[in-house]
Symmetry: C2
Subunit: 349 residues, 2 copies
C-alpha cells in the first residue's frame, strides 16, 4: 500500500492512503490519524489500512479525492530517528579518495552510518531554505526505509524483516561546511540540515520482484534544473543491503518503530573508455560530479546549487509508472523569503 | 515545576507532575497525557501544569500519590532529536589531546555538537544493557535541556529563551568501539548506544539564581559502585552556555519543540600541585580518569564498567535537596538477562 501525510497545520499531518496509481487518496482518520501511530502498532493498523487501500484501488472508497503531492509533508513528518547510511561504495570512493587511492578494506565490510536530524523532515515540494549560497548547497538522491522495532544485536536477515515502508529521500548537504565539521571531529550537524522525502511511503510488496535481497533493483532518476543528471541503478552496486545497514545500527541498542534509515547517495561506478574515466549513469549529488571532473580534468568545474535552482528525484516501476511520486524542490533564501513575508502586508495595504 | 513520565506499558508513558520535594506526584492526564504533547503547545499547557504543581506543593491536589523514581521512564521517553554537546573544554582536552598538546583555537570558539540516538531513551533506574564488557562501558554525568521551537540561524540569547526544561543525563559510551568509529569517519552510532535521564525534568525557575548565563552553577555528583568519584562544578568551566550550543545546532535549520540537547561531560580543570597534576573535583566519566592516570603515571590503570557495576548521578540545590532525583543504574548483560528471562518459567514450574 501507499501512505502519505497531508498538511493540516499540525506537526504530524493527517495520514492518508493513496491509490497505487497516485491519482486518488482517502483520509485514514477512521483508522489512524498519524503515521507514527500506525507504526507503533503496525500489526493492528496495517491490515485496516490495507483494506482501505484495496477499496481505493477498486474505486470503492466512498470519500476519496484527487491526490495532490503539493499537499504532502514527508510521509513521516518527524521521526524519533534518522540514520543515514553510505551503502554505495562508488559514492564513498568519489567523495573520500584522492585519485588512485584504494578504498580501505574496512569500508567494504563495515558500513558507514551516521545519525541525522529527524525533528523536521520536509515535504516533497517544500523549499530547501538556506541562508547563503556560499554554503555549497547539494542534493542527494537516495532510498530510505522506515522500520518497526529492531532487537539489539540482531542479524541482517531478521533486521530486513523489520522494514515496513520505503521512500525516496533527498538529504540536503552544505558541502562548504562539511569539511570543517569533519576536521573538527564533530558530528555533521550544520552541514546536514534537512531531509526531504517522496510524497508517499510504500510497502515492500509494491515493488514486486524489484525488491530482493534487501535492495531495490530499479533506476533512480535525478534532474537538476530540468536536466536529467542521474539514472543510477539502485540495485547491484549497493554494497550493503538494508538489512545489513539496520543490523549495523542495532549492534549495541534496540531501534524503535519509526526509525528511518537512508541508503546513502545512489551511485554507480565509472569505467575507463578511450583512456578516460566515464560515468555513463551520471550522478545523484553534485559533489560526485565535481569529483568526476577532478578525476577527468584535474579540476572541478560544476558549482553547487543557487537560489531558484530545482531538483527532481523519481523512481519508476517496470511499467513506467511513478512508484513514490516525485521529490521536486526549489532552493530558496532564508532571508529573501523572510523579507518577502514582512513586505507583503505593506504591499496589500 | 517538575515533570516525569510514569511507566504504563506505552511508548511515551503517562505524564505526571511531581512535587518540589520529590515526595508526591499527580497524573497530568486531565491536562495532557504525554510530555511531547505539552511541548508541542507549551504556552497552552504549561500554565495548567503549573497550577497542578502549585496545588501539589500546597498539599491541595486531590489524587496525589507517593512519587517513585523506579516507575519513571526518561521524562521524554522518546524524542525527535538528541544533540550531545561537548561544552566542558577540560573534558575535550582530557579525551582528545596528547600530553603537552594545546587545545586547537577553533574548539574554544566553535562548540562540538553531535547528533545522537533519541528513539529509546531509558529511565533513571533502568539497566544499561550491553552485550560484552569488552566494549569498554562508560558513563557520563551531564546536564541536558529540552527546547521549544528554535528558528534557523538564531542568536545565542534568543536560543536560550527556548529552554523549557532541564534534566540530568547519562549518555552511555562504549569506548572500545569509539576510536574505530572516529577513525572510519562514521558517526558515533554503535559507540553511543543509549542515554538515561533523571526521574524529573524541571523548569529553569526551579534552579533560582543557580541558573544564570545559560549555565547551572551547582555541583554534579557522580558515584561509581557507591564511591563518590566526581563533584564537578557545572557552572564556570562550561565553555559554551546552553544558548550557544542551541544556536550552533540551529545555524542552518530550525529545531523543533522537544529537541533535547546535552552539555557534554561536566568536567573541571586540573591544577599542578607539588609538581604533579591533580584533579581535586574528580571525574564524570571513566575515560577522563584514564587520561588523568596517563598524565600522572604515563599509564591508564582504571578499567571500564563491568556487569553488576552501578553509577549514580545527582545534583543538589543550595538547600541540600535533590533537584532532579537521582540517576541510579546497574550495568547488565544483554545475553545473561535474556537467559534469565527464558529460564524463569521453568524455575517456577
Amino acid at each position: 500500500m501507499k501512505l502519505a501525510s497531508y498538511k493540516d497545520g499540525s506537526r504530524d499531518g493527517q495520514l492518508v492512503v493513496v491509490s497505487r496509481d497516485l491519482r486518488t487518496a482517502h483520509y485514514a482518520s477512521g483508522i489512524a490519524h498519524r503515521l507514527q501511530q500506525a507504526l507503533d502498532d503496525w500489526d493492528f493498523y496495517a491490515p485496516q489500512l490495507q483494506d482501505l487501500y484495496d477499496a481505493l484501488n477498486a474505486d470503492r472508497a466512498r470519500h476519496s479525492f484527487d491526490f495532490n503531492p503539493a499537499q504532502c509533508m514527508a510521509p513521516l513528518p518527524r521521526a524519533y530517528q534518522w540514520l543515514s547510511g553510505a551503502a554505495y561504495l562508488s559514492h564513498v570512493a568519489l567523495l573520500r579518495l584522492a585519485p588512485g587511492e584504494e578504498l580501505p578494506a574496512a569500508l567494504k565490510t563495515d558500513p558507514l552510518v551516521f545519525q541525522g536530524a529527524s525533528d523536521a523532515f520536509i515535504g516533497p515540494n517544500d523549499d530547501i531554505v538556506v541562508a547563503s549560497e556560499a554554503m555549497g548547497i547539494d542534493f542527494s538522491a537516495e532510498l530510505a526505509v522506515i522500520t518497526g522495532d529492531v532487537k539489539q544485536d540482531t542479524n541482517p536477515e531478521d533486521a530486513l524483516d523489520s522494514v515496513r515502508l520505503l521512500m525516496l529521500a533527498n538529504p540536503v548537504s552544505l558541502r562548504q561546511l562539511e569539511a570543517a565539521e569533519r576536521d573538527k571531529g564533530a558530528g555533521l550537524v550544520q552541514s546536514k540540515p534537512v531531509t526531504a522525502f517522496s510524497p508517499v511511503a510504500i510497502t515492500p510488496d509494491e515493488l514486486g520482484d524489484a525488491w530482493r535481497g534487501g535492495k531495490v533493483h530499479l533506476a533512480l532518476q535525478t534532474s537538476w534544473n530540468g536536466r536529467k543528471v542521474g539514472m543510477c541503478d539502485a540495485g547491484p552496486e549497493m554494497g550493503f543491503h538494508f538489512g545489513q545497514l539496520i543490523a549495523h545500527a542495532a549492534k549495541t541498542r534496540h531501534l524503535r518503530a519509526g526509525t528511518v534509515l537512508g541508503s546513502g547517495t545512489v551511485s554507480n561506478s565509472g569505467a575507463e573508455k578511450h583512456g578516460r574515466m566515464d560515468w555513463p549513469k551520471g550522478y545523484s549529488c553534485i559533489a560526485e560530479k565535481r569529483s568526476m571532473e577532478a578525476l577527468q580534468k584535474s579540476k572541478s568545474q560544476t558549482g553547487f546549487m543557487q537560489f531558484g535552482d530545482t531538483v527532481r528525484i523519481e523512481m519508476k516501476g517496470k511499467d513506467g509508472n511513478s512508484l513514490f511520486g516525485a521529490i521536486d524542490q526549489n532552493v530558496a533564501s532564508l532571508y529573501q523569503a523572510q523579507t518577502d513575508a514582512v513586505a507583503e502586508p505593506e504591499a496589500t495595504a
